[in-house]
């Protein structure tokens, strides 16, 4: 197998959305996958935040890679990620206060999402700014896709709603377990198994 990374936009998109998806192939960003996926709205906003932070962090790391001393590059990458997360947090607090209130501490925890640092270190550090931005955005979209699938199941079965709108009949008894983190473990396990089985390449 060749170690050369295909940096064509289509190949990056396919890689990050499917064949090297950060959640079910790289098993990154799992903490937030367990924490925020009990409501679709929160999941959508949170993953949008992660997508933007990943894209702009990768862009910035790529632009500054010649300036950043190699020995302290991870400190600088963390600083860059924190910088964008603080901006997302402030903008949400100011202009989308209800969403910010609902997400609570999870916005700040974007900093700890391994996907962002992973893409900065594995891709942006050795590629150009535009392609790094695209890699960051598509990695975020791959993360977003999996989390939205989990959120659909959890909100539908846990609350009987989707995006807050009642879907299940009045007689439906919500499954409390689905709004609690353990259900996300089961769902994530199923998604990893399904994804890897469909690809057929690796043992699930």
């Amino acid at each position: 197998m060749s170690d050369v990374v295909d940096i064509r936009p289509g190949a990056i998109l396919k890689n990050n959305l499917w064949s090297n998806n950060p959640i079910f192939m790289q098993i990154l960003g799992i903490c937030s996958a367990l924490a925020v996926t009990n409501l679709l709205t929160n999941t959508a906003i949170m993953t949008l935040g992660v997508t933007l932070v990943t894209g702009f962090s990768s862009l910035t790391v790529s632009l500054l890679k010649k300036l950043i001393p190699r020995k302290v590059r991870m400190i600088v990458q963390t600083l860059i990620i924190a910088f964008y997360v603080i901006i997302v947090d402030l903008v949400l607090k100011a202009f989308l206060p209800e969403i910010s209130k609902n997400l609570g501490p999870y916005v700040g925890l974007i900093i700890t999402n391994c996907i962002i640092m992973g893409r900065a270190e594995a891709f942006a550090q050795s590629n150009g700014p535009i392609v790094s931005f695209w890699d960051g955005i598509t990695s975020g979209l791959g993360y977003m896709g999996v989390l939205l699938v989990m959120a659909v199941f959890r909100e539908l079965l846990g609350f009987g709603t989707l995006f807050g709108y009642q879907i299940m009949p009045a007689a439906f008894v919500p499954w409390t377990i689905m709004v609690m983190p353990p259900s996300a473990f089961f769902l994530l396990g199923l998604i990893i198994w399904a994804g890897k089985t469909m690809m057929g390449g690796e043992k699930a």
Partner: protein, 198 residues
């Protein structure tokens, strides 16, 4: 003269940090007034909402008075009726939930009976502790505090209400304890004001 490598690395780090700090300062300068305005609006709406449940027409919320020596309460607002008669107090309370501090607004009759409450800023878990933001969540506390104590544990609740707080017991206990402390404080405040007028 050759500049030591440590100085070069330190200088580059300082430059990157400075640029980040300046940009964040600019973003903060734009967003901070809006955030403060949002908080003030939320507080004003919260005060009007809890005072509105006093059951008296023309209920008015007075000036805020800071409360010293109370870990649970920050500020007290007197509520007066249309004729200026005292109806009770609204307290700005802090409870401890699963995600840290929770801010509450609670309105009491002078007897310490809770007649309205609302969850304000909190970091509770979406889908679990966040349910305390729903107005009907406070129904399990309303009416207690004078003749009956404010519930602070699951065993104080009837089975139907205890089921409703499953998965968010710590939030419930934090809210209950803060409201109970507030009730006690209102009775003390009322005792002081009666003492002052005698």
């Amino acid at each position: 003269m050759k500049i030591p490598r440590l100085v070069i690395v330190g200088g580059k780090l300082a430059l990157i940090c400075t640029v980040a700090a300046v940009v964040l300062g600019l973003v903060n300068a734009v967003t901070a007034p809006v955030i403060v305005e949002n908080r003030e609006r939320a507080l004003a709406e919260g005060l009007a909402a809890v005072a509105g449940k006093a059951g008296v027409s023309g209920a008015h919320v007075g000036e805020a008075s800071p409360i010293a020596d109370s870990p649970a309460a920050q500020t007290a607002y007197p509520i007066t009726g249309g004729n200026g008669e005292g109806i009770g107090f609204i307290l700005q309370l802090i409870g401890t939930g699963y995600g840290g501090d929770m801010q509450l607004l609670a309105a009491y009759h002078p007897t310490g009976e809770l007649f309205s409450a609302q969850m304000m800023e909190n970091q509770e878990t979406p889908g679990l502790g966040k349910k305390a933001e729903a107005p009907e969540y406070m129904d399990m506390f309303i009416g207690s505090g004078a003749e009956s104590p404010i519930p602070t544990s699951m065993s104080d609740l009837p089975a139907s209400q205890a089921d409703a707080i499953t998965g968010a017991t710590i939030t419930f206990i934090g809210v209950g304890r803060a409201l109970a402390d507030g009730s006690e404080l209102v009775r003390e405040l009322e005792g002081l004001s009666e003492g002052g007028t005698q």
